[in-house]
C-alpha cells in the first residue's frame, strides 16, 4: 500500500500541462474553466482524507456531457490520466489527484434536468448536491432517500461512484437502489447510456449496478436518473442514553429482532460524546454515558407512536439510563446533533481525523468495538466510534497529527488491525466510503489473487488503457 507519506505533496513532483493541451481544453470548456495556476490547484490536492495530498496537473470544469466527452477525448489522445471529482468529500482518497493527471470536476454540472412527478423520477447532472435534489422535489411531496451525513456538500456523481449510504439507508437502502439510469462518458470520450426507467426489459447485463460504486474508474457519470419516494407523513425520534456500549448494542439487537423497521439506528460512543460535548456542537448528551443511541421511525403518522413506544421498551429492557423523545422538529434536530456533528467536533480536537469505515455482522458489534478500544490503547491513539448500528457499519475515527511521523505510522498500523479484525468476523473493509487509495492495501484481506485479477479485468472492460482514476481501488 502506498503510505500517506509517499503521497504527500512534498514528495511528489507534479508535471505541468503543456500550453497547447491547456488551450485545447479551454477551447472546449471556456477560458476560465481550466485551472493551471499552482495557487488555485492547491484547493484540489486532497479530498476528505487529508492525510494524502497531491497537486494535480490541471483542473478542468466542463458543464455538459458533450464537453466532458470532448475533454476526455483530448486527454485520452494525449495519454493523460483523468481523476473525476465531485465535491471532494470522499473519505478514502478516491478523488486524490495523480501527479501527472488532470482532474475533471463536476462543480459546474449542477443542474437538475427534470423532475417527473407522475413517474417519481428525477434526472440531474452529477455535480448536483445531494440535499438540493430533495429540496427541489419537496414541493411535489417527494424526496431522494439516500442521505449521506455529508449530504449538504457531496454530489450525486460522488454518491454514484461510492454507492453512498447514510443514516436512513437502514430502512431505505443505499444509492444503488435508487439509480435507474446513467449517462456515462467512457475514458476515450464515448458517451453511453446505461439502463433508464422503463427500459428494464432490454436484455442487458446490469451495467448501472456495475457502474455504481466503481469509484471513478469506469467512466464519468454525466446524467443520473433517480427514483424518488413520497415524503413520509411523520417522524419520531428517540435518544437512548446507556451506561455501556454493550447495553446499547443489546437494545439495537432487540429492536431489530422485534419486527420494527426503524428508518435509522445510530450509535455514538463515550469518546465521541465527550468530544461533541466539549465542542461548539454540544448536544446535551451526558458526558459520563457509555453510548447514545439515536432511533428514528418515519411513515404514516398513525403507527409511529406505537413504534416509538416499542423501541423505548427495548431500550429500557436493555437498561437504558434514560430515553428522550423529540416532540418538535427543533428537539429532533437536537437529539440528532451529537451524531451529525460528531465528525466536526472531532476535527476540532485533533489536527487530523481518519474516518474509518468497515462493516461487520451486527451480532459481532460488541466484541469488535471492545477490541477496537484495545487496539487504540495498544497504539496509544484516540479512537472514537460513530456508526450505523442497524446495519453493522462502523466508523472508528482515529484522531492524529499528520506532522507527527511516528503517530502517522501508528495510525496506519492500527487501521490495518481494525480492518483485519472486521474481516475476521465475517465483515468487510468498507461499508460506504469505498476503497480509494486508502484501502487498496487491505484488498487482499477480502479478495484472493484470482478475485483481484478479475477486478482488474472488470476495469479493463470499461477503460482498457487504465487512464481513469489510476492507482485507486486495486492494490
Amino acid at each position: 500500500m502506498a503510505t500517506p507519506r509517499e503521497l504527500t505533496i512534498s514528495s511528489v513532483m507534479t508535471q505541468t500541462l503543456t500550453p497547447t493541451i491547456a488551450d485545447r481544453l479551454r477551447a472546449i470548456v471556456g477560458q476560465n474553466h481550466v485551472i493551471t495556476h499552482p495557487d488555485r490547484l492547491v484547493a484540489y490536492e486532497s479530498d476528505g482524507l487529508t492525510a494524502y495530498r497531491v497537486v494535480p496537473r490541471a483542473v478542468v470544469l466542463p458543464e455538459t456531457t458533450e464537453q466532458v466527452s470532448r475533454v476526455l477525448a483530448v486527454l485520452h489522445g494525449e495519454g493523460i490520466d483523468v481523476v473525476p471529482r465531485g465535491a471532494g468529500t470522499g473519505l478514502s482518497g478516491g478523488a486524490l489527484p495523480t501527479p501527472d493527471g488532470v482532474i475533471v470536476g463536476t462543480a459546474r454540472m449542477n443542474r437538475i434536468l427534470s423532475i417527473d412527478e407522475q413517474d417519481r423520477l428525477a434526472t440531474a447532472q452529477p455535480g448536483v448536491i445531494n440535499a438540493r435534489l430533495t429540496e427541489a422535489t419537496a414541493p411535489y411531496g417527494l424526496y431522494y432517500a439516500p442521505d449521506p451525513s455529508s449530504q449538504s456538500a457531496c454530489t450525486l456523481g460522488g454518491n454514484v461512484a461510492e454507492n453512498s449510504g447514510g443514516p436512513h439507508c437502514l430502512k431505505y437502502g443505499v444509492t444503488s437502489r435508487y439509480v435507474t439510469g446513467l449517462t456515462v462518458v467512457l475514458a476515450d470520450g464515448e458517451v453511453v447510456r446505461f439502463g433508464g426507467a422503463g427500459t428494464e426489459a432490454v436484455p442487458s447485463l446490469d451495467l448501472v449496478g456495475l457502474f455504481i460504486g466503481s469509484e471513478g474508474c469506469f467512466g464519468i457519470a454525466t446524467e443520473i436518473e433517480v427514483r424518488l419516494l413520497p415524503a413520509p407523513e411523520g417522524v419520531r425520534t428517540l435518544l437512548g442514553i446507556f451506561d455501556t456500549m454493550e447495553a446499547a448494542g443489546r437494545a439495537v439487537t432487540d429492536i431489530m429482532a422485534s419486527g420494527l423497521m426503524p428508518a435509522a439506528v445510530e450509535i455514538v460512543d463515550h469518546a465521541t460524546i465527550v468530544a461533541v460535548e466539549a465542542s461548539v456542537f454540544a448536544a446535551g448528551y451526558p458526558i459520563d454515558a457509555g453510548a447514545a443511541l439515536v432511533i428514528e421511525f418515519d411513515g404514516t403518522e398513525a403507527g409511529l407512536d406505537d413504534d416509538a413506544d416499542r423501541a423505548e421498551q427495548c431500550c429500557v429492557a436493555a437498561d437504558a439510563r434514560e430515553v428522550r423523545r423529540a416532540t418538535s422538529e427543533e428537539e429532533r434536530l437536537g437529539l440528532w446533533k451529537g451524531r451529525k456533528k460528531a465528525f466536526g467536533a472531532m476535527g476540532r480536537i485533533a489536527p487530523d481525523l481518519l474516518v474509518q469505515d468497515a462493516t461487520v455482522p451486527r451480532t459481532r458489534l460488541p466484541e469488535v468495538l471492545a477490541r477496537i478500544t484495545e487496539i487504540g490503547q495498544e497504539y496509544d491513539l484516540k479512537i472514537a466510534n460513530v456508526f450505523h448500528a442497524g446495519d453493522g457499519n462502523l466508523h472508528p475515527n482515529i484522531l492524529f497529527d499528520r506532522q507527527n511521523a511516528d503517530e502517522l505510522d501508528r495510525v496506519e498500523k492500527a487501521s490495518r488491525e481494525i480492518m483485519s479484525l472486521c474481516v475476521s468476523v465475517g465483515g468487510t473493509i468498507t461499508g460506504e466510503h469505498g476503497v480509494g487509495v486508502d484501502k487498496r492495501g487491505y484488498m487482499p484481506l477480502v479478495h484472493n489473487e484470482v478475485e483481484l485479477e478479475m477486478l482488474r479485468r472488470a476495469r479493463w472492460v470499461f477503460d482498457p488503457n487504465g487512464n481513469l482514476n489510476p492507482g485507486k481501488v486495486l492494490p
Binding site: V202, G299, T430
Partner: protein, 409 residues
C-alpha cells in the same frame, strides 16, 4: 470411450444421468448430451474445465424453468440440485446463505420459522432454485415496497466459464470492496458464470398485511386507478393489475398490498381511498377465493409456454396496455409501480407481439421474450451497440472460452 464414460473417469464424484431421467426436455427441442450433478463448488469448477476441453457448452439448470432461446450445439446440463441446503443462517443478523440449487421454499420456510422473510414473490417462486431466481433477477409484485431482487442479494459464490471460483459480495448488508461484479451476475441469465451459493438479506415479517382490491371488466379499465395509487402520499408494497382471473370469473383486479402495524395500515388505507376516490374491498383469508386470486396474480402468464415482458414508464402504461388489448394479447399482469407488463399464453402470436413491441418502444419502453419454444420466435428490443460491446467484454472476462451455453446464442 463415450463422453459419459470420460466424464465419469475424470470426475468420479459427479453424478451423471441420461437426459431422459430429467423428466422432460430442458426446453422444447433441445437435449443435452447428459446431465451432470456436481455436489460442490470445486466439482462445478472441474466440470467446466472438462467441458471446455471437450468443446461442450454447459447450461446450468435447477428447476428446469430456464427460458432463454438458444442456438444449436452440443451441451451438458449442469444440474445444481445437489448444491443444496442452507449453509448459514444467523437470524439476528438477518442474513441467510444457501446452495444455489436449494429450492426457495426451503429458505422461505426457515426464515418464516424465525419471523422473517425474503420479500420477493416472482411467479412459482417456492419451487424455483435460489440460483435460478438470482440469475434471472426474477421479480414479483413487491418491488414497490422492497425494491428489486438485486437489492436483496448480498453475496454469491460463482464459478466462471473457465472454472475460476469467485466470492462476490459478502454476508453483511453493505459489503462491496472493489467493483460490484455481483450486480452483473444477478440477472445475468447464466451468461457469465454458474452460481453455487447465494447469500440473501432477510427482513422481519411485517406485523400486518392488508390486501385491498377493486375489480373491473378489463385490465385497461383499472390502470388509471393503479397509477393514482402509485402517486399517493403513502407507498404500498405492491400495486398490481391482472386479468382475466379465473377466480373472478374472468374479470380483472387491481390488488394493493400494505404492510405495517394495524393502526398504520388502517391509516394508509384511508389515505389511499381519499387519494384515489374509491373504496377498496378488503381481501382476507376468509374472503371468497382470496387465496386463488392472490396465487393467480403471482403466476398469471408466467407459467405458460409463451411469455413476454414489457417495461415502460408508469405514465405510459395505459397506451401500451390498450395496444396489447387491441391485438388480442392476454392474460396479463401489470405492476403499475414498476411499469412492467407480463403477458403469457400458449397461443401468443409472433405478429401481435411485434405490434406490442412497437407500441412499447414508441412509448420509450422495451419488450423482452421471456419464453417461447424453438420455432419462429419474435425478437425483443435489442440493447444498444455500446452496451452490447461492454456486455460482450464482460462475458469475455467471465467466460473467455464461451463455454456457458446461452452466451453462444
Amino acid at each position: 470411450m463415450t463422453l459419459v464414460h470420460e466424464l465419469r473417469s475424470a470426475l468420479p464424484d459427479v453424478a451423471v444421468r441420461d437426459p431422459s431421467e430429467l423428466g422432460g426436455p430442458i426446453w422444447p427441442g433441445m437435449t443435452p448430451e447428459f446431465v451432470a450433478s456436481p455436489s460442490s463448488t470445486e466439482d462445478v469448477s472441474r466440470l467446466l474445465v472438462w467441458a471446455a476441453q471437450e468443446d461442450l457448452g454447459v447450461l446450468a439448470v435447477a428447476s428446469g424453468s430456464h427460458a432463454d432461446p438458444v442456438s444449436d450445439g452440443r451441451f451438458v446440463a449442469l444440474d445444481t440440485s445437489l448444491l443444496s441446503g442452507i449453509e448459514e443462517y444467523e437470524p439476528a443478523d438477518l442474513t441467510i446463505t444457501a446452495g444455489a440449487g436449494t429450492r426457495f421454499a426451503t429458505v422461505d420456510d426457515a426464515l418464516r420459522e424465525n419471523g422473517q422473510w425474503a420479500p420477493f414473490d416472482p411467479p412459482a417462486a417456492r419451487d424455483r432454485s435460489m440460483g435460478g431466481l438470482v440469475s434471472e433477477a426474477a421479480h414479483g409484485s413487491l418491488w414497490a415496497g422492497y425494491g428489486a431482487l438485486k437489492n436483496h442479494v448480498l453475496g454469491a459464490t460463482v464459478v466462471t466459464g473457465d472454472g475460476r471460483v469467485l466470492r462476490l459480495g459478502g454476508k453483511v448488508v453493505k459489503n462491496v470492496a472493489g467493483y460490484d461484479l455481483l450486480r452483473s451476475v444477478v440477472g445475468g441469465r447464466g451468461r457469465l458464470c454458474v452460481l453455487t451459493s447465494v447469500c440473501l438479506r432477510a427482513f422481519p415479517l411485517p406485523p400486518q398485511e392488508r390486501v385491498l382490491m377493486i375489480s373491473a371488466a378489463s385490465v385497461a379499465e383499472l390502470i388509471d386507478s393503479a397509477l393514482a395509487v402509485g402517486t399517493a402520499p403513502v407507498l404500498p408494497v405492491s400495486i398490481v393489475v391482472a386479468g382475466p382471473l379465473e377466480a373472478l370469473d374472468g374479470r380483472a383486479a387491481l390488488v394493493v398490498r400494505l404492510h405495517g402495524a394495524e393502526s398504520t395500515v388502517d391509516a394508509d388505507q384511508a389515505i389511499l381511498e381519499t387519494h384515489v376516490g374509491t373504496s377498496f374491498d378488503r381481501l382476507t383469508e376468509a374472503s371468497d377465493g382470496a387465496a386463488r386470486i392472490l396465487s393467480q396474480l403471482q403466476d398469471l402468464g408466467a407459467v405458460e409456454d409463451r411469455c413476454v415482458e414489457v417495461s415502460v414508464l408508469p405514465s405510459q402504461l395505459s397506451g401500451v396496455v390498450s395496444a396489447a388489448a387491441d391485438v388480442g394479447l392476454g392474460p396479463m399482469v401489470v405492476d403499475s409501480y414498476a411499469g412492467r407488463i407480463r403477458i403469457g399464453g400458449s397461443d401468443l402470436g409472433v405478429d401481435p407481439v411485434g405490434t406490442l413491441r412497437e407500441a412499447a418502444e414508441q412509448a420509450g419502453g422495451a419488450l423482452r421474450i421471456v419464453r417461447w419454444g424453438r420455432a419462429d420466435f419474435p425478437t425483443g428490443t435489442p440493447q444498444s451497440m455500446a452496451t452490447a460491446m461492454l456486455s460482450e467484454r464482460l462475458e469475455s472476462i467471465f467466460d473467455p472460452g464461451g463455454v456457458l451455453w446461452p452466451a453462444r446464442s
